[in-house]
C-alpha cells in the first residue's frame, strides 16, 4: 500500500510541471500582458518598457518560467504583479475564507444528498422518488448565479434579512453573529448548487444495490425493506460516497468562483477572477498549482479509501 501511494505521489510532480508550463505558455502567448492591465493608455511606451524590465517580463519565456519554478519548488510563490503582495500571503488569507464558506456548504449538501438519495433510491419509481429526482433536475438546470440574484432580491432587498456583500461588516471582523449574517445567503446558494449531483449519485448507487442479488436473498429470508436499507444497502452505498469526498477536495478551493464574485466574498474565487483578467501570472500559476495538487491528492485519497473499505480490492503493484 505504501509503495502504491508513493508511486502515485511521484507521478504528481511531472504532471504539475507540465500543467503549469502549459498555463504559463498560454499566458505568455496572449496578445496583451499584465503591464497593459496596470497601465493607462496615456503612459508612454518607455514607461511601459521600463516596467516590463522591472518585472522581468522582457526576458525569454523559458527563463521566466524557470525562475518561477525554481522559486516555487523552494516554497516561494512570488509576488502579484498587480498588487505587489506576496502570493503566498494572499493565499494564506484567502483560502481559509473560501473554506469557511464552502466547507459547511459542502458538508450540508453531502448529508442532504445521502438522506435524499437513499430515500429516493429505495423507493424507486414511487412518488417520493419522482419528487426528489424532479427537484434535483430543476436544481441542476438552474444557473447558480441566477439563483443567487433571486436569493439576494428576496432575502436581501425585500425581507432585508441579510447583508448582501462581503464576509463581515466594517469593524466587525471576528464577530460570529455578523459573520453568520453575511454567510447565510452564499451558503444557501452553494448548498443548492452542490446537492443535486451528489443526490443523483447516491440515488443511482442505492438503486444499483437494490438490484443486486443479495437483496433478493435478504427478502427471501424475510428481511423488510427498512432493515435491508439500514443494515445492508446504506453501508454498501456509503462506501463509494466516502470516496467522493476525496474527489471533492479541489472543489473546496475553486468551487465557488461565481458565488464569491456575486457576494463579494474575499476568497480564492475572487482572487483568480481578478488576476486572470489582469494576466497576473504568478497568481494564476499559484492557484492552478494548488488546485492541480488538490485534484491529484483527492483522487489518491479516494482510491486509497476505497481499497481500505472494500475487502475485495487489494492494491497490487501493477494495478492503477
Amino acid at each position: 500500500m505504501l509503495r502504491y501511494v508513493l508511486r502515485r505521489m511521484a507521478q504528481l510532480v511531472p504532471m504539475l510541471v507540465i500543467i503549469t508550463l502549459i498555463v504559463f505558455v498560454l499566458i505568455h502567448l496572449a496578445p496583451y500582458d499584465v503591464i497593459d492591465a496596470i497601465t493607462t493608455p496615456s503612459m508612454s511606451d518607455e514607461t511601459k518598457q521600463l516596467m516590463r524590465e522591472k518585472f522581468g517580463l522582457d526576458q525569454p519565456m523559458i527563463v521566466q518560467y524557470g525562475l518561477w519554478l525554481w522559486n516555487a519548488v523552494r516554497g516561494d510563490l512570488g509576488f502579484s504583479l498587480v498588487s505587489r503582495h506576496s502570493v503566498a500571503a494572499d493565499l494564506a488569507e484567502r483560502i481559509p475564507n473560501t473554506l469557511s464558506l464552502i466547507g459547511p456548504a459542502y458538508l450540508t449538501a453531502f448529508i442532504l444528498a445521502i438522506v435524499l438519495g437513499l430515500i429516493a433510491g429505495s423507493r424507486r419509481g414511487g412518488r417520493l422518488d419522482k419528487v426528489i429526482d424532479g427537484i434535483c433536475s430543476v436544481a441542476i438546470a438552474t444557473p447558480t448565479f441566477w439563483f443567487a440574484l433571486l436569493v439576494i432580491y428576496l432575502f436581501g432587498y425585500q425581507l432585508r434579512l441579510f447583508p448582501i456583500l462581503g464576509m463581515h461588516s466594517v469593524g466587525k471582523q471576528g464577530d460570529p453573529a455578523d459573520f453568520l449574517a453575511h454567510f447565510a445567503m452564499p451558503y444557501l446558494v452553494l448548498v443548492v448548487a452542490l446537492f443535486p449531483d451528489l443526490t443523483r449519485y447516491v440515488r443511482a448507487s442505492t438503486i444499483a444495490q437494490f438490484d443486486d442479488d443479495y437483496v433478493l436473498v435478504q427478502r427471501a429470508y424475510g428481511a423488510g425493506r427498512g432493515f435491508i436499507l439500514s443494515r445492508h444497502v446504506s453501508r454498501n452505498v456509503l462506501l463509494p460516497i466516502i470516496t467522493q469526498l476525496g474527489l471533492a477536495l479541489p472543489t473546496l478551493v475553486t468551487g465557488a468562483i461565481v458565488t464569491e464574485s456575486i457576494f463579494g466574498w474575499p476568497g480564492i474565487g475572487q482572487y483568480i477572477l481578478t488576476s486572470s483578467a489582469a494576466l497576473d501570472y504568478p497568481v494564476i500559476l499559484a492557484v492552478v498549482l494548488v488546485s492541480a495538487v488538490l485534484t491529484v491528492l483527492g483522487n489518491l485519497i479516494a482510491d486509497v479509501l476505497y481499497a481500505a473499505a472494500d475487502p475485495r480490492i487489494r492494491l497490487t503493484e501493477g494495478a492503477k
Binding site: 443479495y214 433478493l216 436473498v217 427471501a220 429470508y221 424475510g222 454498501n236
Partner: protein, 264 residues
C-alpha cells in the same frame, strides 16, 4: 395417508410492464410435495421454474402479479392477507452474489439466527458453528470470519445451505444449487443435500435443468414448459415411461439418455 408439506393450486403469475402488454409467466400451476420427499422441477430456460420458486417465497420482481387459489406450506396458508412465516428456507444459484460482498459470512449467519430463533449471544454463535460443521466445513470459525469472495465456490454454497438450515425449515427450496459449481463439487453438494434430507427428515424442492440431478436426488419430478406443468409423478415412472411428448424429447436430449434406454 398423504401428508403434504406443500400444496399449491392454480398459481398464475403475469408480468405487467408499464407501457406494454401483460406477459403471462406461469399458468395454472399445481404442485404437491409429500413430507419427507424430494421433488425436482425441471424444464428449459424460460419454462417458469425459477418464477415458481420466487412466487412461493414471495420475492417476485416489482412488476409481477401473482394469483393463486391455494398455497399451504406446513399448514400455513400463504393466501391469507398477512400469513405467518412458514418454515421454509431457500438456497440460491450463485452463492457469490447471494451474499453481501462487504459483510463476513458470520454476519449473515448471525442475522438469520436472530430472526428465526430465540438464540442470542454465545448460543447463537454455537448454532452457527454447528450448522457450518453440519454441512461439512472443516474450519467453521475461520469461515465465520471470512468474506464471501475469500471462499471457494463449493464452500460458499455449503455456507449458504448452512444459512438455510439455521432458519429451521421443514421445506428446503433450492434454485439450481449446483449449476454454478464444478462437476466434482456438484456431486459433493448433492450428496450433502441427500444426507441432510435423510438426517432431518427435510422436504426438498429443487429446481434444475439437469436431469442427472433429478435422477440422483429426487423422489418425484414435475416437468414444466412455457409456464405450465406438463407432467408430474415418481421419478422412476416418469423417466422410464414418459406420458407427454415434451418429457420424452427432454429425456432424449439429455446426456446419458442412451444409458437409461439400455437400463430400462
Amino acid at each position: 395417508m398423504t401428508d403434504p408439506i406443500l400444496q399449491i393450486r392454480g398459481l398464475n403469475v403475469d408480468i405487467v410492464p408499464p407501457r406494454a402488454d401483460r406477459i403471462p409467466i406461469l399458468h395454472d400451476v399445481d404442485l404437491t410435495i409429500e413430507r419427507g420427499t424430494v421433488m425436482g422441477v425441471v424444464g428449459e430456460s424460460g419454462s417458469g421454474k425459477t418464477m415458481l420458486l420466487r412466487a412461493l417465497m414471495s420475492i417476485l420482481p416489482q412488476r409481477a402479479e401473482r394469483r393463486w387459489d391455494t398455497c399451504l406450506v406446513d399448514g400455513v396458508d400463504l393466501t391469507a392477507p398477512k400469513p405467518a412465516r412458514p418454515a421454509m428456507a431457500m438456497v440460491f444459484q450463485d452463492p457469490l452474489t447471494s451474499f453481501n460482498p462487504l459483510r463476513r459470512i458470520g454476519g449473515h449467519l448471525r442475522e438469520v439466527v436472530r430472526r428465526f430463533t430465540a438464540l442470542r449471544g454465545a448460543e447463537a454463535e454455537q448454532a452457527c458453528i454447528a450448522a457450518l460443521t453440519d454441512v461439512g466445513i472443516p474450519d467453521p470459525a475461520r469461515v465465520m470470519r471470512s468474506y464471501p469472495h475469500e471462499l471457494s465456490g463449493g464452500m460458499r454454497q455449503r455456507a449458504m445451505i448452512a444459512m438455510a438450515l439455521l432458519a429451521e425449515p421443514e421445506l428446503l427450496v433450492a434454485d439450481e444449487p449446483t449449476t454454478a459449481l464444478d462437476a466434482t463439487v456438484q456431486a459433493q453438494i448433492l450428496a450433502l443435500i441427500n444426507r441432510l434430507q435423510a438426517q432431518r427428515n427435510l422436504s426438498v424442492l429443487i429446481v434444475t435443468h439437469d436431469l442427472g440431478v433429478v435422477a440422483a436426488l429426487c423422489d418425484q419430478v414435475t416437468v414444466m414448459k412455457d409456464g405450465a406443468v406438463v407432467e408430474t409423478g415418481a421419478v422412476d415412472e416418469v423417466f422410464s415411461a414418459p406420458k407427454h411428448p415434451y418429457t420424452r424429447s427432454l429425456l432424449a436430449a439429455s446426456p446419458g439418455a442412451a444409458t437409461r434406454e439400455a437400463a430400462s
